[in-house]
């Protein structure tokens, strides 16, 4: 019974990894070719100083793609999942803050779009799911890995 539960959990974790990784690869690819528009989207949040916006717009798409690829690979899944949890949480907080301040903007999450508050709420919901999913994958991997000095980056768990 325990073995069956474990394999079911592993299966769910694998599906979650593929879904979350797929979303982040798509998000990264759509942004990587047009950093200028993404920088404009970040600026619309009115939270970051100009010196941070362009480096963030340049680095974030690569971060998303690298982390998504890491979640696909069992030996690096744990770190990839944590990295995506951090990114999703950052997006969630930024979007929630913009909504609470009454801003209407295009978050630039998936390339260029039309500024719209209903769309922002939908993207906030997606971010919430991504935070939850990535955190669940991370803690699933973390709790299953024997804590030994012989493990370097996570533990192959699937």
């Amino acid at each position: 019974m325990t073995i069956r539960n474990d394999s079911a959990r592993n299966g769910v974790a694998l599906i979650a990894c593929l879904a979350i990784g797929g979303v982040f690869i798509y998000a990264g690819v759509t942004k990587i070719s047009d950093p200028l528009h993404f920088a404009d989207s970040i600026n619309a949040f009115a939270t970051l100083p100009p010196a941070v916006i362009d480096p963030l717009a340049l680095g974030l798409p690569f971060y998303e793609i690298i982390c998504a690829v890491l979640t696909f690979l069992p030996p690096t899944r744990r770190v990839g999942a944590l990295a995506l949890t951090v990114a999703s949480l950052m997006f969630f907080i930024a979007l929630l803050s913009a909504l609470l301040r009454g801003l209407t903007l295009d978050c630039g999450c998936f390339g260029t779009g039309v500024p719209s508050r209903p769309r922002m709420w939908m993207e906030l919901g997606l971010d919430f799911l991504l935070v939850g999913g990535a955190a669940a994958v991370y803690f699933h991997s973390l709790l299953r890995s024997p804590r030994s000095s012989t493990y370097v980056i996570g533990t192959p768990d699937l």
Binding site: N43, A57, L58, F62, Y63, V79, L142, R147, S148, I153
Partner: protein, 196 residues
């Protein structure tokens, strides 16, 4: 069967716990920071080899437009595309019939002291701001001709503004080379009021 008699293989034992979850989380966060640094490095490298690299400090669309317009209007006179010119007689009939948009490329100080009736001030030295202010008027022009003038004689401001307008997509732009000097010397009507 006695338990003591059962041999235990050392490699069958589970790994020995040498640290807690906190250490694992800290180590994972360290790797996240490494990934972030690598991503930033890749982004900066891609930007370095890009044909249109982003500046390190963000500029808003308004700031970019202003920089672009300022660069455009400051094209050295030697590199300007030749614009069609208009003589005084034709310019006067156009002003009287209001069949063209008249632009004064002189500084606002000179414009306020006196200008051709109906002219708008699109100063060469304040081009970006004036262009933004006049955008609704310019966009409403459609195919109506635009005539630019400056002080006259050897001034280049009208040619520079005309060149910038042509680069911005306005096709029918001409220059009244006689400028303000020729217009006022001919004792033609002048105005100190801004056009609506």
């Amino acid at each position: 069967m006695s338990l003591a008699a059962t041999p235990i293989r050392r490699d069958a034992l589970p790994p020995v716990a040498t640290h807690g979850i906190g250490w694992d989380v800290a180590r994972d966060l360290f790797f996240v920071a490494v990934i972030a640094s690598i991503s930033l490095g890749l982004g900066l490298a891609k930007n370095h080899f890009s044909s249109q690299p982003l500046p390190m400090v963000y500029r808003s669309p308004e700031q970019r437009l202003e920089a672009e317009l300022t660069t455009l209007v400051n094209t050295p006179p030697a590199n300007l595309a030749p614009a069609e010119t208009v003589a005084l007689a034709e310019f006067r009939s156009v002003v009287d019939s209001k069949s063209a948009l008249i632009l004064d490329a002189r500084s606002s100080v000179f414009f306020q002291q006196g200008h051709v009736p109906g002219a708008h001030n699109l100063a060469r030295d304040n081009f970006a701001e004036d262009y933004r202010r006049l955008s609704p008027v310019l966009k409403g022009m459609n195919d109506k001709p635009i005539i630019v003038y400056c002080s006259g004689g050897y001034c280049h401001d009208s040619k520079m503004v005309a060149h910038a307008l042509m680069m911005l997509g306005f096709d029918n732009v001409r220059v009244f080379t006689g400028g303000w000097d020729e217009w006022s010397a001919a004792q033609l009507p002048t105005s100190t009021e801004s056009a609506p």
